[in-house]
């Protein structure tokens, strides 16, 4: 089957808003969720800012049996999945179990839970390690827990490709829908703002060490010097168009195109793979560059990577040929959660006729990007979401109104 795959439900947990309504209100008006780390004392670390999801109390959302066996990323994902299903008007108990799948992404698994168990191991001994460590840290745990909680036994998996993973998961969900599963819960939530997760990110060398919340993460700016990490993301309900029509569901938009490429060897001198990913997504959707209303950029805030992304966009769309935005300047980079959160923002842009801004950034003139730095009212029918993962992953997802 190659019928349309549509999005019918959104569940958002973002540093600048818990829940879709708060997220969108704050995102369209440029309100940032970046601040000093509060989940641990960051005093002795070179990077001290993060985008933390505010106001989430797991006990308010999850049954008691799940609390001892879940990392924060899983708790957020389970709550976001509940919201996405409710938004879609789906009651899983009323749908055959094998007609529903779960495909999420994860960049690093449940780090905070794992840190606690490792500390128990070396300070007290192996008998003090929770039996639930066997899966609570694992990349696939969000897919598994969403599947168990909602009785979803259709094709399910996890995709691990760093920040590109969130888009790759949505594409894999679309494949499963085309193969005949009517409904797949997808998207991604990552959350590893704990000392162990922090040192792992520091070792990657791409974290901003600025302590000024509005100067720390400046993609496409001459002062770009790394990113602020964040937590959260979005869980989405994807369905075959047929399933959505039968249910009479509200459709946010169609997953119309997807392309994924891998970068060449770093010192090969060859062009990075992002341009080809964009072209593949456009070709997959049968869309010309001129039909794209907005690009949600990967926005690495590493000068070399910003240059490469700007070059790819110029090559496909021409100089200043398309509106470009990076609302992740309000959240930090969310790893696998970033793509699905941008996907949610793109779909909400279509509903509202508003492109949310890139905050704090003064774009380098030579990049020739039409960077949206203030909320822009304009019809949005077709949006491209980009994500690059460390290690060479490039993914592009095109969404279109139906």
């Amino acid at each position: 089957m190659t019928g349309k795959t549509v999005v019918t439900g959104l569940g958002v947990a973002s540093p600048n808003g818990l829940g879709t309504a708060d997220f969108w209100d704050n995102t369209r008006s440029g309100k940032s969720g970046i601040g000093l780390v509060t989940r641990f004392d960051p005093t002795n670390y070179p990077a001290r800012l993060a985008g933390e999801v505010p106001g989430f109390t797991a006990e308010d959302h999850l049954p008691g049996r799940l609390l001892p066996q879940t990392d924060r990323m899983t708790r957020l994902a389970l709550a976001a999945a509940d919201w996405a299903l409710e938004d879609a008007g789906v009651r899983p108990a009323e749908i055959p179990a094998f007609d529903m799948g779960v495909v999420t992404a994860s960049s690093s698994g449940g780090f905070e839970f794992g840190q606690g168990e490792l500390q128990a191991l070396w300070s007290q001994g192996s008998q003090y390690v929770s039996a639930y460590q066997s899966f609570a840290w694992f990349y696939a745990v969000n897919s598994g827990q969403i599947s168990i909680r909602n009785g979803m036994k259709g094709p399910s998996s996890v995709v691990v490709s760093d920040q590109a993973g969130g888009l790759d998961a949505v594409a894999q969900a679309r494949r499963q829908i085309r193969r005949g599963t009517p409904l797949v819960v997808s998207g991604a939530i990552d959350a590893s703002i704990c000392p162990w997760g922090w040192v792992a990110q520091l070792a990657g060398g791409r974290l901003s060490t600025s302590e000024c919340v509005d100067r720390a993460y400046l993609p496409f700016d001459a002062a770009a010097a790394g990113h602020v990490p964040g937590e959260g993301g979005a869980i989405v309900v994807l369905e075959s168009e047929e399933s959505a029509v039968v249910r009479g569901a509200h459709v946010y938009g169609e997953i119309a195109g997807y392309g994924a490429t891998f970068d060449p060897r770093p010192d090969s001198g060859r062009e990075p793979g992002l341009r080809r990913a964009v072209e593949l997504a456009l070709a997959d959707a049968g869309v010309e560059p001129g039909e794209v209303d907005v690009v949600f950029a990967d926005a690495a805030a590493v000068p070399e990577l910003d240059r490469a992304e700007a070059a790819a966009l110029r090559a496909v769309f021409g100089p200043r040929g398309v509106a470009v935005t990076a609302p992740k300047t309000m959240t930090g980079r969310l790893y696998s959660g970033a793509g699905p959160l941008d996907l949610a923002a793109a779909l909400l842009s279509m509903d509202a006729g508003v492109i949310p801004p890139t905050v704090n950034v003064e774009p380098v003139p030579g990049y020739d990007l039409d960077l949206v730095v203030e909320q822009r009212s304009t019809p949005v029918h077709c949006a491209l979401v980009l994500a690059r993962g460390e290690g060479g992953f490039n993914s592009a997802l095109l969404v279109r109104s139906v």
Partner: protein, 90 residues
């Protein structure tokens, strides 16, 4: 030497600490002869429970005592049998 005794309250505490409680189950109710599956605990929850009993009471339970329709009463009896046995046979 005083022999330690393992009670239903001890089991409730350990279950809650290690695996939480099913919201549909009243752990303070009459649970002694209910199966752990009826109480909402799967095999991993029982593994965690057994591990916590072992590190707190120094007794090691067999897998069969945690499966095959195990109930709180059978688990409590098994722990107390070990606690009252001569030390070299534990």
């Amino acid at each position: 030497m005083e022999t330690r005794h393992f009670t239903l309250d001890d089991l409730r505490r350990i279950l809650l600490e290690g695996a939480g409680a099913d919201d549909a189950v009243d752990l303070d109710g009459e649970i002694l002869d209910l199966g752990f599956d009826e109480l909402g605990y799967e095999s991993l929850a029982l593994l965690e429970t057994s591990s916590r009993i072992e590190r707190e009471y120094g007794v090691s339970l067999d897998d069969e005592e945690l499966t095959d329709g195990a109930t709180p009463r059978r688990l409590i009896d098994a722990v107390n049998d070990r606690l009252s046995a001569p030390a070299d046979s534990v």
